[in-house]
């Protein structure tokens, strides 16, 4: 019984981790079709913001994580949108090359500033017992944050004018522009929001992991696999794909080994993309967000 309970929490935590990693990419790649290879590095920046804020300036961990990290990384995203990405909309392969360069650049700059040294913040909140098992309380908090973030995204996109404009512009920029919307500005803001979500994800995951300049590499592939398998309705798709992958990986890891967990995640991705070449939401939930 305890074992089942702890496994359910592990599965939820695996799903939440993937969903968090995918949220920002669902905006930048899912909605805007920019292949952002610097996604992992935006997450890494989020982690560094938390470390600098808490260690250098003594700012409260939660403030640094939930407020400062998304704002700062969002601003950094905005700057790069202005000087790099905005010239490349609609040219997917070019965005890949450009953001790959951006990724190397960010790794270089952070290494130069902080050194290639492993940093990290201690996981807050301690642990709780679950029968024979004990688990970190922070896992539950991370799951809760993920749920709140996705609820907020759905509400903004479906229920607000801002969301309507964003979705409309992504679907048909020229029509939107005829209606008095400025697509470049919408793109700029959307990209910044995507970067902010990515920074937030990196910040939330920082107390669970370590932060090094090259940590992005550990994140970027998983994020892309999740969002691509999700398909056209970026957010619903990312949630569904995270659900499948998170469950598969955690259960296999638990039953056998983490290597098989990774292997089965990739096999599942291949099978899913074979059945749904345009992603899960290419077939189901097509009208969702």
């Amino acid at each position: 019984m305890d074992l089942v309970g702890i496994q359910i929490i592990q599965v939820l935590s695996g799903i939440a981790t993937l969903a968090l990693m995918g949220a920002g990419l669902a905006v930048i790649f899912g909605m805007m079709r920019v292949i952002n290879f610097a996604h992992g590095e935006f997450m890494m920046l989020g982690g560094y913001v938390v470390i600098v804020c808490t260690e250098q300036f003594g700012i409260n961990l939660w403030v640094a994580m939930l407020i400062i990290a998304p704002i700062l990384v969002g601003l950094i995203g905005l700057v790069f949108e202005r000087i790099l990405i905005r010239f490349l909309y609609g040219r997917m392969i070019d965005t890949l090359i450009a953001t790959w360069g951006l990724s190397l650049f960010l790794i270089g700059v952070i290494t130069w500033i902080f050194g290639n040294v492993t940093r990290g913040v201690q996981t807050p909140l301690g642990s709780y017992s679950f029968g024979d098992y004990s688990e970190k309380t922070y896992t539950l908090v991370m799951i809760a944050f993920t749920v709140v973030i996705y609820l907020a995204i759905f509400v903004v996109l479906r229920r607000t004018k801002l969301g309507l404009i964003a979705r409309g512009t992504m679907q048909n920029p020229s029509q939107a522009s005829c209606l008095g919307v400025s697509p470049p500005r919408v793109y700029m803001v959307t990209f910044a929001i995507g970067a902010a979500l990515t920074g937030l994800a990196g910040a939330i995951l920082a107390p669970l992991n370590t932060v090094i300049p090259t940590i992005g590499v550990s994140y970027v592939a998983q994020a892309f696999i999740t969002v691509i398998t999700g398909g056209a309705a970026a957010f619903t798709g990312t949630v569904l794909a995270s659900g499948v992958f998170g469950a598969v990986r955690q259960i296999i890891s638990f039953q056998w080994t983490p290597i098989l967990g990774q292997v089965f995640l990739l096999i599942t991705a291949v099978i899913l993309l074979r059945i749904f070449p345009t992603g899960i939401t290419g077939r189901y939930f097509r009208r969702s967000t």
Binding site: L3, I6, Q7, Q10, S13, G14, T17, N116, V117, T118, R119, G120, Q122, T123, G126, S127, S129, D132, Y133, S134, E135, K136, Y138, T139, P207, L208, N209, T210, I212, T214, I215, V217, S218, Q250, S253, F254, T257, P258, I259, G261, Q262
Partner: protein, 416 residues
């Protein structure tokens, strides 16, 4: 691109074969250099993912060379050190090893950090008759006359630390490590030791180097209820394990011993609450209280910007200092830099005493008999509590005897 005809292919192969042979021959002839210097090379990654290890190693080799030169040099000549930077890239390892052997004709290569990179350069230097000195702790078993090893082996580090665990914590052992040859083999050595000493080997689970999420594994360890955990995790991403282990409240529940903890300065990256109590066995700790080590640490810090700026030294970083000095002493004993004579001097069972204690070459394996220290993390730094004197590197004694079969050049793994 033109098509490859048979004739063209033959011509090209003949030409390259000739070139390779010529290069090989040139490697044999040790042409007299500028008469006042002896050239040696170091091959440690000073950039890329492994620079955390390679930068202090390069510094330590530099310090050793400067000290030798300041003390009058070697055979009346100054040593010139060429510090190559293979950038954590195997192709560059191969390229620089060739350059060091064929172009620079160095007297010795102090080199390689990971076992993977050592296995790239070992055959290259062997063919070109250039000595390789490997000074990093590793999975053991290399049996090659041309490859002198001053790094410690599983018998010297793994067995003492597991023995400590089985004595103090209990007989049920659970092993986790990184997924490549060294932790794989170290795990097999661990299993051999534990089963031979009446213990129970519960599991050996390995993780790819980029894994950061250890939740399921931590639950699995809790389910298996080992008496202690034996780790051989490697690299930045894997430090997450220690963090998540502590966050799950496990640090005080299941004790941990390690082969690698501390080698990547893990105890400096984590907070003391996340790693206090972990036990490791290493041939060297910066915290060693011997006069020789205190003087060495002071010289190192004075040379590289003071105690705050100089990197923290562990058994990997300090290894190249030991390797370079030990080689120089062997040259003095041999009276020449000629490879065979130096190897012969070493194989006579030569000893040298450095910051980590006394090292003696075992002629059968060309590894070192050396002291190993057991230490526990306390308040974020190592507290050495036991020294095991003069452990022999007998990991593969049953199969490796270079005094009888000097032509052996392979790596043996444990037989279970």
């Amino acid at each position: 691109m033109g098509s490859i005809t048979r004739r063209k292919f033959l011509a090209t192969s003949a030409a390259s074969a000739a070139a390779i042979t010529a290069a090989g021959l040139m490697g044999n002839v040790r042409i007299a250099r500028a008469d006042d210097e002896i050239v040696i090379a170091s091959l440690f990654d000073q950039s890329g993912g492994l620079d955390v290890y390679g930068t202090p190693m390069t510094m330590c080799a530099t310090l050793a060379v400067e000290e030798i030169n300041a003390a009058g040099g070697l055979l009346g000549k100054k040593i010139r050190l060429i510090s190559y930077d293979p950038q954590s890239n195997m192709e560059l390892y191969a390229q620089y090893a060739q350059e060091a052997a064929l172009k620079e004709k160095v007297a010795v290569v102090q080199g390689a950090i990971t076992s993977a990179s050592r296995e790239v350069i070992r055959p290259i230097l062997g063919e070109n008759k250039t000595m390789l000195w490997y000074s990093v702790i590793y999975e053991g078993g290399v049996c090659d006359m041309n490859n002198v090893v001053s790094g410690a082996t599983p018998l010297q580090m793994g067995d003492p630390v597991v023995e400590y665990g089985m004595k103090n914590y209990g007989k049920k052992v659970y092993y986790i490590g990184a997924d490549y040859n060294a932790p794989q083999i170290i795990g097999d050595w661990g299993k051999k030791y534990v089963t031979e000493h009446g213990g129970e080997w519960l599991a050996k689970n390995l993780f790819p180097l980029d894994v950061t999420e250890f939740g399921p594994e931590i639950s699995k360890i809790q389910a298996a209820k080992p008496d202690f955990l034996y780790t051989c995790l490697v690299g930045g991403a894997h430090i997450s394990f220690y963090r998540q282990w502590a966050a799950a409240g496990m640090l005080s529940k299941i004790p941990m011993v390690s082969f690698t903890f501390g080698v990547g300065n893990e105890h400096k990256s984590l907070k003391p609450e996340e790693c206090d109590g972990i036990v490791s066995a290493q041939p060297y700790f910066q915290e060693l209280e011997t006069p020789a080590n205190k003087a060495f640490v002071k010289r190192f810090q004075d040379r590289f910007g003071g105690p705050d700026k100089a990197p923290y030294l562990n058994s990997v970083g300090s290894g190249s200092y030991i390797g370079t000095w030990f080689w120089a002493e062997a040259v003095k004993k041999a009276g020449t830099i000629e490879r065979e004579a130096v190897l012969k001097a070493l194989a006579s069972g030569m000893s040298w005493e450095g910051p980590s204690g006394k090292l003696t070459i075992d002629p059968a394996s060309m590894h070192c008999t050396q002291d190993v220290h057991l230490a526990k993390v306390e308040g974020g730094s190592w507290k050495v509590f036991q020294t095991i004197n003069q452990l022999r590197p007998d990991d593969v004694k049953d199969r490796c005897d270079l005094t009888k079969n000097p032509e052996t050049a392979e790596q043996f793994t444990p037989q279970i």
